[in-house]
């Protein structure tokens, strides 16, 4: 690796130039001295002997010039010079420097911020299969636009659905989780059974909701997010089938949702928690503002 070796040597030569220059001057001077002596011995005059020696060398400064080009990395050295010059100019004009740095800082900051938003919203599609066909349905009234519907309204929509392949509902709130470890406040969401198949989600362990779970008389079950499963239960699969209390109501853990599954609309920092209540709960909460989202239209 001779090329690499000389590259490093030449790179190093870009520094401590004065010492190297002196070295070269000494060497050339010694060369000229020896040559001059030889010329004198051949019978030249002192002046002529020296002149001939310099001539044969091809000029002292010219020789130094080609020598320097080989010694270092000329392009790199020019770059260093430019940098040094730039730094000096910046130091000389502090006002200009401040404005330039501020402009750059603001520009970079704004770019980063905008890109972060654009990237998460526009560039990176939702991580659901066929996410382009997922839509969210709202109620429009003459008075207000974009209202969430009630659960009774959702049931109505679903029974008369002719436009969508699947209609599912979900609804978020904060809950209190209580189990043998202790209490914890979590972000939870209620969902109808078809929400997860619609989004192409498969459980890491256990199962998802079944449509029968929506009916009265079945046991209340809950799905854990991957995050809370890891953090609170150490990723232990034995949690399946265990009872935990959510808002003072016992639920059985039926499954764990895959890593990275976040219900859209949840604030992003979440312990996304797919939690499920049976229909009667939902119906009883009709008066509360409940939210139903993520519908998939049919291909027509």
């Amino acid at each position: 690796m001779r090329v690499l070796r000389s590259f490093f040597v030449r790179f190093a030569a870009a520094f401590a130039k004065q010492r190297r220059d002196r070295d070269l001057s000494d060497e050339l001077e010694s060369h000229l001295g020896m040559h001059t002596e030889d010329n004198l011995r051949r019978g030249m005059s002192a002046v002529e002997a020296r002149r001939q020696a310099v001539l044969t060398l091809g000029g002292v400064e010219q020789t130094k010039e080609i020598y320097r080009e080989r010694r270092g990395l000329p392009m790199f050295e020019t770059l260093l010079q430019d940098l040094r010059f730039g730094a000096r100019m910046l130091r000389k004009n502090p006002g200009f420097t401040a404005v330039a740095i501020l402009t750059l800082a603001l520009g970079i900051g704004a770019d980063t911020a905008i890109f972060s938003i654009v990237n998460s919203i526009l560039l990176r599609p939702l991580q659901y299969p066929d996410s382009g066909r997922l839509i969210r349905v709202y109620t429009y009234t003459p008075v207000e636009k974009g209202l969430d519907t009630t659960f009774a309204g959702f049931l109505d929509w679903r029974s008369r659905n002719g436009s969508f392949e699947t209609l599912a509902a979900a609804w978020q709130n904060d809950s209190n989780l209580y189990d043998t470890i202790g209490p914890e406040k979590i972000r939870s969401a209620c969902a109808t059974a078809d929400l997860f198949p619609m989004m192409g989600v498969r459980p890491v362990i256990g199962r998802l909701f079944r449509s029968t779970d929506d009916r009265v008389g079945y046991e209340r079950i809950v799905l854990l997010s991957y995050g809370i499963w890891q953090r609170r239960y150490g990723g232990n699969p034995a949690i399946l089938g265990k009872q935990i209390q959510i808002d003072s109501t016992p639920y059985q853990v039926a499954g764990v949702l895959p890593r990275g599954f976040h219900y859209p609309g949840q604030d992003g920092y979440l312990d996304a928690h797919g939690r499920r209540r049976r229909i009667p709960d939902w119906l009883s909460r009709q008066s509360a503002h409940s939210r139903h989202g993520s519908y998939r239209p049919s291909k027509t």
């Binding site: 070796r5 000389s6 040597v9 010694s30 060369h31 044969t56 060398l57 091809g58 020598y67 080989r70």
Partner: protein, 113 residues
């Protein structure tokens, strides 16, 4: 005055290595004179180009240099062949022999068997 040939591109390094091999440690001026003598004064070494060539060889690790005193008690930088330089000299010499041999065959085709 006879028309002396300039040193061909790329051959100067080989000559330098060879000179150091046969003469032992030597300063730049000595190398230049020695090359001229060896060539029977047919070659004129442009002394100015010798130093960058020496530098290149040193950067590549084929020779090393150290300051010393000449016979006339003059301070001079002495160059000396390294182990890598010896190997390089062998390799390059072999290559040149091959090249000249091939060229010779072209130039005197009647000797072909």
């Amino acid at each position: 005055m006879t028309d002396k040939k300039d040193v061909w591109q790329g051959t100067l390094a080989l000559m330098v290595l060879n000179t150091l091999q046969s003469m032992g440690p030597l300063h730049g001026y000595g190398i230049a004179r020695r090359i001229e003598q060896t060539s029977g004064d047919l070659l004129s070494v442009n002394y100015g180009t010798l130093y960058p060539a020496l530098l290149k060889l040193e950067q590549e690790g084929y020779i090393s240099s150290v300051w010393g005193l000449s016979d006339n008690n003059r301070k001079a930088k002495y160059y000396k062949l390294t182990r890598a330089g010896r190997k390089q000299l062998e390799a390059e010499a072999r290559e040149w022999e091959q090249t000249t041999e091939i060229l010779a065959r072209f130039l005197s085709p009647e000797q072909e068997s």
